[in-house]
């Protein structure tokens, strides 16, 4: 197993970069970074289908002693307007935090705040 360092890398990924990628490229990019031990903040969240695909891909990539999965939390869209409710809408997250589950732990989440903890000593190289 690779030696882990104390510093944890934390990357903010712009909407621009995300929008340039196709769905599958995006998911591959995210999982690759997260498997390296990085925590990502995506300026633009994933669609519901991308989220389920990400969970599916994560399950396929779990390696019992090195990668136990992801922690992912997004802040939702603002409360839907009357018309959005009327015509149906899906709540696409505006911003999403995603990292390796052995490193990032969600403490609490509601509509307005996501509280997480980073477990030290397990950062990426």
């Amino acid at each position: 197993m690779a030696k882990k360092e104390n510093e944890i890398s934390f990357n903010l990924v712009s909407r621009h970069k995300l929008d340039e990628l196709t769905s599958s490229e995006k998911l591959r990019f995210i999982l690759k970074e997260v498997k390296k031990g990085k925590i990502l903040v995506l300026e633009h969240g994933l669609t519901p289908f991308e989220q389920t695909n990400l969970i599916e891909n994560t399950m396929k990539e779990i390696e019992q002693d090195t990668f136990i999965g992801v922690e992912m939390e997004g802040l939702g869209q603002d409360r839907p307007s009357f018309f959005q409710k009327l015509f149906g809408y899906s709540r696409k997250p505006r911003v999403t935090l995603i990292g390796p589950a052995n490193l990032l732990k969600t403490i609490r989440k509601d509509n307005d705040m996501i509280q997480t903890k980073i477990i030290p000593g397990r950062g990426a190289k």
Binding site: F49, I55, Q64, S90, R91
Partner: protein
């Protein structure tokens, strides 16, 4: 079913009066009481049970189903194929099964491996169902990524969702939190363990899942 399978009387009636048959998936994170609820539904309406229940997460690692469960609501009824799915999670750590539940390393690794396959199976089943009974533990935070992801997926497909706010027999449960978290779907507080409020759940299942809807495909 053959060539003429699609033009049965039942299918004509269904087209005119709404659904008479629906494939309903019981979904949710591990350990919220999906199998306990599936067993209760089956016991109440067929006399059968679905599968084993455990306090250890990821007890159900393959989807199980029972076809043609007839649930009645006064004059109307709905035939449902009930699918009990493995819990959906974004992570599976075999060490949890060892440290918290005392499984041996081999048992824990095997359970973890099957659990990851179970998650994939649950996600695949999403493509194949007409509606979801989403089970949440009302003693816990509602906005978990798993709940949000499953709901988002179903909303995008325009499939009906009924949220069962389970475990309300427990003192720290807060079904009101779930109701205000998801105002766009019916939320029924229940105890799958004691059977509390199952009548309301059944009534709502029949009316909610019978509604005609245009199914969106990806």
């Amino acid at each position: 079913m053959g060539l003429f399978g699609k033009v049965t009387l039942a299918s004509i009636l269904q087209r005119v009066f709404g659904k008479k048959h629906a494939k309903i998936g019981i979904y949710g994170p591990p350990n919220v009481g999906k199998t306990t609820l599936a067993n209760r539904i089956l016991r109440d309406w067929t006399g059968d049970i679905m599968g084993s229940v455990s306090e250890i997460p990821h007890e159900t690692r393959r989807a199980k189903w029972k076809k043609n469960v007839k649930v009645e609501n006064g004059g109307s009824s709905l035939f449902m194929d009930i699918v009990d799915t493995p819990g959906v999670a974004t992570k599976v750590d075999y060490k949890d099964f060892m440290n918290t539940w005392g499984l041996t390393k081999d048992e824990a690794k095997q359970r973890a491996k099957e659990a990851t396959e179970g998650v994939i199976e649950s996600i695949k089943w999403l493509e194949d169902i007409d509606g979801v009974l989403l089970v949440m533990d009302s003693t816990q935070d509602p906005f978990t990524q798993v709940n949000v992801t499953i709901l988002g997926n179903l909303e995008a497909r325009n499939l009906p969702v009924l949220i069962a706010a389970n475990k309300i027999d427990m003192e720290e449960s807060s079904p009101a939190t779930l109701k205000s978290a998801f105002p766009q779907h019916p939320v029924i507080p229940i105890s799958a363990l004691t059977g509390y409020n199952s009548d309301t759940l059944y009534t709502t299942m029949v009316s909610h899942f019978s509604k005609k809807r245009k199914k969106k495909r990806r």
